[in-house]
Amino acid sequence: MPDRLLEVDHLAKRYGNVVALQEMSLEVGVGELFGFVGPNGAGKTTTMRIILGVLAADSGGIRWAGEPISFADRRRIGYMPEERGLYPSMGVTEQLVYLGELHGMRGREARAAATEWLERLGLTERGGEQLQKLSHGNQQRVQLAAALIHSPAALVLDEPFAGLDPVAVDVMSGVLRERASTGISVLFSSHQLELVESLCDRVGIVRAGRMIACGTVDELRRSAGDRVWLDAPAAPPGWADRLPGTTLVRTDGSRVLLELVPGCDEQALLRAALQTGPVREFRRDMPALSELFRQVMTEEAAA
């Protein structure tokens, strides 16, 4: 992982008797895109609010470039809250300039940045309109511009893709990729797991206020265990149930998905399969993030 910019360190937070977060930890490196996934109520929004200082943690802390985060550091984060937060009856440009100034920009700087971002997001003609006159997708673009206006060093975006049409999704992911390539750290939450998989360098899966899996998609696959798809159509029924060093995960027609116990020799498995007749398929399983997500969720629920 590149240099750590933003670290969430063992956060705990309770609302009355409800535990919102426990032992929540994650790190986002410089220029890294970090995807935050998990069911509703898992603690993603609470974590983000604590990062931005709009909520206080019961224990644990946030570090910025290795030091406990300060109020001034937080101004260098661009934030897009879950419930979009802009003034409905205020003009688009005016609103962006105001938010830029509130993040420490001078008026002229803020106006130039607002013009630039509206142009990049295709909203130049909407600058003079009230926010509430814009479509949902365009409002979301303004919200993104609001998070980006002050050239933040990090972006914290709560469900930035929710409710966007495919074109808007492309615009949004393009901007996030481009920002990350300039060295900005991006932390965002989403339920669109394919998108997270294609976009993010690393992914964190949260459940019930706790980070239960974290790493690159490959790392997650590895920790999920070695699995192999095997298609030996001539093998007798029930043959795959008794193979040493493996567990049968699933059967799909003549294909079986086998989980290998650590240390199991896959070449020996292939030889055993060839003894039953022809082998049409023998390959390592590359589960999608959505598959991994489901897997981690059920394991945790069983644990």
Binding site: G31, P81, G85, L86, P88, Y98, L102, H103, G104, G183
Partner: protein, 420 residues
């Protein structure tokens, strides 16, 4: 370490408050409440001034009588004209050389009366009846004429006798003199108090609505990621307060501009002091009430709940305004009749005007009426400032603890207790 173009550290607390205040101010002065409210108030003031000029001036205009005098009756013309002002009327005299023509003028109404014949035995010609005022005026003139004739016959000079009579007078002893502008001053105070009450209500509601609107639209979440709650609260109060002050200034300014030239209300020099006092109390009262209203509003999440949440504070405002009535009406009565204000009322006014929550409405009245000693004014200001400091401390705490809690109304005690 990153591609950030600037440090983001250029926002000191004062600039943060300024930015919030500027946005609030600009939003309000371009808003409907401000533009429409100001136009209506100015239009009403203008209408009132116009009514005063047209209606009241008509009521007060001195009646003018046109009276013709034939050549023979001419000696009576000058005394008749001179007698007019004494009776509050004006007499326009014309010389009627042709009696027939003059009579037709009486018939047509151009002349109210025609006086003919010798001064000692005059005749008065009218169309259908003689106006009672004109009748007594002419009677007086004729009697004077007769008196002068008698005096001359007795060998006296009528003019000298008259001059001697005019010198007689009496000395005036006033037991309870009226204060100068004794009636106008409480009225000025009452108008100020009413305006203050009105503006506290209107702009207090604007503050409360603004706080909840930010909460409902969740803008507050973005704002609090870069501002401290106290900065946001203070900026809102200052920006909206300034907008209110500007509107207050426009309306009071127009009021003065309309009333001064028309003399609807003879404004004493002291009124300037009253207006200044009003401004000071507007600022203090606004800050005090706005902080309380913003805090109560922060406890709820939906705009529809605002009025319910702010009822206790609105009630205090109404009580202050009712007290103002109880205090200032006897003052006006007393000023008009020249009697003293009942001591109970005076004490109530004095005590109530020193209570911080009531001072902003009551003190301006007392200052305008000129019955608040300087030390009481100063004491009320100090007490109010202390209350503002206490309320600001509590407000910042409650506001910070509740502005990010959505859903059901938050209990005040809970918002006070929890450290964020």
């Amino acid at each position: 370490m990153n591609g950030s173009a600037f440090s983001g550290g250029g926002l000191n607390p004062a600039r943060a408050v300024y930015l919030v205040a500027r946005r609030e101010f600009m939003t309000r002065v371009r808003g409907k409440v401000f533009v429409v409210g100001t136009l209506i108030a100015v239009a009403l003031l203008g209408l009132y001034a116009v009514l005063q000029i047209t209606v009241f001036d008509n009521l007060n205009t001195t009646t003018t009588f046109h009276v013709g005098f034939t050549a023979q009756a001419q000696p009576l013309a000058a005394p008749a004209k001179a007698a007019g002002p004494i009776l509050g009327v004006e007499v326009m005299v014309t010389q009627a050389s042709d009696q027939a023509a003059a009579e037709s003028q009486v018939r047509s109404g151009t002349l109210d009366a025609l006086v003919t014949g010798a001064p000692s035995t005059p005749q008065v010609v009218v169309k259908s009846q003689l106006d009672p005022t004109l009748s007594s005026l002419l009677t007086g003139v004729v009697r004077q004429e007769a008196l002068d004739a008698e005096l001359s016959r007795a060998g006296l000079n009528p003019a000298a006798v008259q001059a001697q009579a005019n010198r007689a007078s009496f000395r005036l002893d006033v037991l309870q003199p009226l204060k100068p502008n004794a009636v106008e001053q409480p009225i000025v105070g009452a108008i100020l108090a009413f305006l203050l009450y009105l503006f506290l209500s209107v702009y207090g509601a604007v503050i409360a609505q603004g706080v909840v609107a930010e909460k409902a639209s969740r803008v507050v979440e973005v704002l609090l990621s870069t501002l401290r709650p106290g900065q946001l609260l203070l900026g809102k109060v200052l920006g909206i307060g300034l907008a209110g002050l500007v509107q207050f200034g426009i309306i009071v300014g127009c009021g003065l501009a309309f009333t001064l030239p028309t003399h609807v209300l003879a404004l004493p020099g002291a009124a300037i002091g009253s207006v200044l006092g009003g401004v000071v109390w507007f600022v203090l009262g606004f800050v005090l009430y706005a902080l309380m209203l913003a805090t109560s509003a922060a406890l709820v999440s939906r705009v529809e709940e605002v009025s319910a949440a702010t009822i206790p504070i609105s009630m205090v405002m109404v009580v202050a305004w009712l007290l103002a009535y109880v205090v200032f009406i006897p003052q006006i009565d007393a000023a008009q009749t020249g009697t003293a204000v009942p001591p109970g009322v005076e004490n109530l006014g004095t005590v109530a005007s020193l209570i911080p929550l009531f001072s902003p409405v009551l003190m301006p009245i007392r200052i305008a009426a000129g019955d608040a000693p300087l030390w009481q004014g100063a004491m009320a200001i100090v007490l109010t400032l202390l209350s503002i400091a206490a309320v600001a401390w509590l407000a910042a705490r409650v506001y910070a603890n509740s502005v990010l809690r959505f859903g059901a109304r938050i209990k005040l005690s809970r918002a006070l207790r929890q450290a964020h």
